[in-house]
């Protein structure tokens, strides 16, 4: 006899009962579910690690982005492998973010409760990080360093940027000072001496006029919609003429001052009066306007040339034995000179390393941070540009005239104003300069209009 299959239908009442039970179970489960609570950052490293911990390292190295990033990525991989070999109880998991979003990511993730450990950060945004509180205070850890070790880092303006109200929230990994890269061969062709590049702004302008010929522009700059515009071009000229972008006492923007007007006029004249800087500098990207154009031979001088691009000069063959730094470093096709603005009117920053406030392993994260900034590891970090440690500068590798010029530039460098609203300040000034350049708007009035707009929202904050 065939077995009779009994199919039991679920009655409406049963269905409701089951659904209610399920919902109650879910609700109770939710209530008793342990919530992850970030432990308070402890300055004491864990005494003995019984099981491996994994820390995350937020970086910005994309090997496909540019040749320079390829070198950075290789360095990062080597650092992780070496560290894990040395400390088998700690695993490092790199996590990639775009360089211009990594700071915002840290802030947003902190607000959203997403954990990170070691993070790269930008010195210009340290005031914002401090206000939000997404980085831990590194002071208790750094206090355990020998005094010389602290001095080795604290000489650079970047160290000061990462110190907010006596709280150290970051440690510099290098010195990103900017200089002017110039083509020695084009100098010779124009009858200029490549061994004595311009030292003052007037000399630089005269050289730019002599070098502008055909498809070659005498002086490359960038005035696009980016932070680079304020940092590398507008601010140095404002400082050069004795002005400031922002007043720390009143917390007001002050870029429409007499110095600001002069700075904007210099920039305007470069494009439209002297015609030594291409109009295309008002758009595109900083990388294209300076690095790519300089390497392609479209610029005789590239102003705002970052020390992180030394590797690209080496790869192109413009300099020899300079990356990694060697005593035999020589300037072949290209040379560098200190930005010819007044002393102290040059911008310097660098990537800093910080520890995210939600890190569950701050002690291990700091151990990794210390490993990264060890002299032997920082030495060939391409994106460091220049050594963050002053002691490294006395080594034979950095005694060439090429590197000594970078050191001079770094010593003269200064950071951007420590306003919490720095991105807004940078965007406002870039947009203002663009309006002046593109629409040929009256300089003083336009600067005032944009300054008032910024102050209406952010003055005093």
């Amino acid at each position: 006899m065939a077995e009779q299959r009994v199919v039991r239908r679920l009655s409406r009442r049963d269905f409701m009962r089951l659904s209610s039970l399920g919902l109650v179970a879910l609700g109770l489960g939710g209530c008793v579910m342990p919530t992850a609570v970030a432990p308070a950052a402890s300055p004491q490293p864990s005494p003995a690690l019984k099981k491996p911990v994994t820390i995350k390292w937020a970086h910005y190295f994309d090997p496909l982005q540019s040749p320079a990033q390829k070198f950075n990525y290789a360095w990062m991989e080597r650092m992780v492998a070496t560290f894990e070999e040395k400390y088998p109880e700690i695993n490092v998991e790199p996590e990639y973010f775009d360089w211009d979003k990594i700071d915002n990511r840290s802030i947003l993730d902190y607000e959203a409760g997403i954990k990170h450990d070691v993070m790269f950060g930008s010195p210009q945004l340290m005031a914002k990080h401090f206000q939000v509180g997404d980085y831990i205070d590194l002071t208790p850890y750094i206090k355990q360093w020998p005094e010389d070790e602290v001095k080795d880092f604290s000489w650079s303006p970047v160290w000061a940027s990462a110190r907010q109200d006596d709280v150290q929230i970051g440690v510099p990994t290098g010195v990103h000072t900017r200089s002017v890269a110039y083509r020695r061969d084009m100098f010779k062709e124009a009858g200029l001496d490549p061994d004595t590049p311009p030292k003052t702004w007037d000399e630089c302008l005269e050289a730019a006029k002599a070098l502008t010929k055909g498809d070659v522009w005498g002086l490359g700059m960038y005035f696009g919609p980016s932070r680079a515009t304020i940092e590398l071009y507008f601010a140095p000229f404002v400082w050069h003429f004795g002005g400031e972008l922002w007043d720390p006492a009143t917390k007001k923007a002050t870029f429409a001052s007499e110095a600001g007007v002069k700075a904007a006029q210099v920039i305007y004249d470069l494009v439209y009066t002297h015609k030594v800087t291409p109009e295309s500098a008002i758009g595109g990207t900083y990388d294209d306007a300076i690095l790519a154009s300089f390497l392609a031979g479209r610029l005789a001088m590239g102003w705002g040339f970052g020390s992180y691009w030394i590797v690209s000069l080496e790869e192109k063959g413009f300099i020899k034995n300079c990356f990694p730094a060697k005593a035999e470093c020589t300037e072949e096709t290209a040379g560098v000179m200190v930005t010819p603005t007044a002393p102290g009117a040059q911008f310097t920053n660098a990537w800093t390393l910080s520890i995210h406030k939600l890190s569950e392993h701050p002690a291990e994260a700091f151990k990794f941070l210390e490993f990264l900034i060890a002299p032997e590891n920082l030495y060939d970090f391409p994106d460091a540009g220049l050594p963050a440690r002053l002691s490294l500068w006395s080594k034979a590798e950095f005694q060439s005239s090429f590197y000594q010029k970078w050191l001079e530039a770094a010593r003269k460098g200064r950071p951007m104003p420590p306003t919490v609203h720095y991105p807004e300040l940078a965007d406002t000034t870039a947009a203002c300069l663009q309006e002046i350049l593109v629409n040929k708007a009256p300089i003083a009035e336009t600067l005032k209009k944009f300054e008032d707009e910024w102050n209406a929202k952010y003055a005093g904050a």
Binding site: Q131, G224, G284, A431, V438, N439, E453
Partner: protein
């Protein structure tokens, strides 16, 4: 004798009817409940939170404060924000003005019986499936003054350099062309759906009446694809008004604030400056703009409906 409707109304007014209805439809309503809850969670809540935050000042790391309409007052006092709205309207008009005719032509092509119509259908859909950031980079590369094929070709033809992302007019044209290029496939698909539903007899009789190509389009095609056109225009309007990624990737709102449309401004305020209150206020303005356009389209394109 009472009509069917009157009888139905009388029936529903019998004593105990309400109780019967509640009992009868309890299960369907309960089954709908999860969807309703999800909609409330993912649509109503975010929408309500936009209005809530637009009335507050929310600095990161500090408690938020109720500021009434201050965020709106701050925005509407700014020349920059009024410029943002104008830039958005200009962008929208440009995108619709360019994409709708192209979409009609493409729709006619892909719904015709010409050889290779299928290939065109696939080809025309490509812009729609490419991520906006990728297509923006593609456009930026094409208009690069030194290496971009478009800029170089124009320079060769005219003998002067074209700085697409520096010249304000060219920058506006670039973002419009980019967005129109990305928008027309969706419009094309919707219009093509309408085109295929038009009986051939209507065209045949129009021809008999002496209607030429334009008259056929005006008196047959356009009226009979009006519904699809309405949906397409409405979708593209909302899409364009809210667009931030495409424009930001191309120009970042520059030069100056020329291409800083409302969506880009919102993105900057929310994710670069972290001014949540201002960003939410901009969001409310965007919603209001979208609703305004919806009402306008309903009046213009919906006029004559049912006649």
């Amino acid at each position: 004798m009472p009509s069917t409707l009157e009888r139905s109304i009388a029936f529903t007014r019998r004593p105990g009817w309400s109780l019967y209805l509640r009992h009868r439809y309890r299960l369907p309503y309960l089954l709908l409940l999860p969807v309703v809850l999800l909609l409330l969670l993912f649509l109503a809540w975010p929408l309500a939170s936009v209005f809530y935050f637009s009335l507050r000042r929310t600095p990161l790391g500090e408690p938020s404060q109720f500021v009434g309409l201050d965020n709106f007052a701050l925005l509407f006092r700014e020349a920059r924000f009024l410029g943002n709205i104008l830039a958005s309207l200009q962008y929208l008009v440009g995108v619709l003005g360019l994409s709708v005719p192209v979409a009609y032509l493409a729709a006619v092509l892909i719904s015709s019986k010409v050889r290779g119509a299928g290939a065109f259908r696939t080809l025309f859909l490509l812009p729609w499936i490419i991520a906006p950031v990728v297509s923006a980079i593609l456009f930026r590369t094409m208009v690069d003054p030194y290496t971009g094929p478009v800029a170089r070709a124009l320079e060769t033809l005219t003998g002067r350099k074209y700085l697409f992302l520096v010249n304000p007019q060219l920058a506006v044209i670039t973002i419009i062309v980019h967005s129109a290029w990305r928008s027309f496939p969706l419009e094309m698909l919707l219009i093509a759906a309408g085109l295929t539903s038009i009986p051939q007899e209507l065209y045949d009789s129009a021809k008999v009446d002496g209607a030429g190509g334009w008259a056929q389009f005006r008196y047959v095609t356009l009226p009979l694809t009006k519904n699809q056109l309405f949906v397409a225009v409405l979708l593209i309007t909302i899409w364009t008004l809210q667009d931030a990624e495409g424009v930001y990737s191309l120009t970042q709102g520059g030069p100056g604030y020329t291409t800083e449309v409302v969506g880009v401004r919102l993105f900057k305020e929310a994710f670069i400056y972290f001014n949540v209150g201002i960003a939410a206020a901009i969001g409310v303005v965007l919603i209001a703009l979208s609703v305004l356009f919806m009402v306008f389209y309903l009046r213009v394109l919906g006029a004559g409906e049912g006649q």
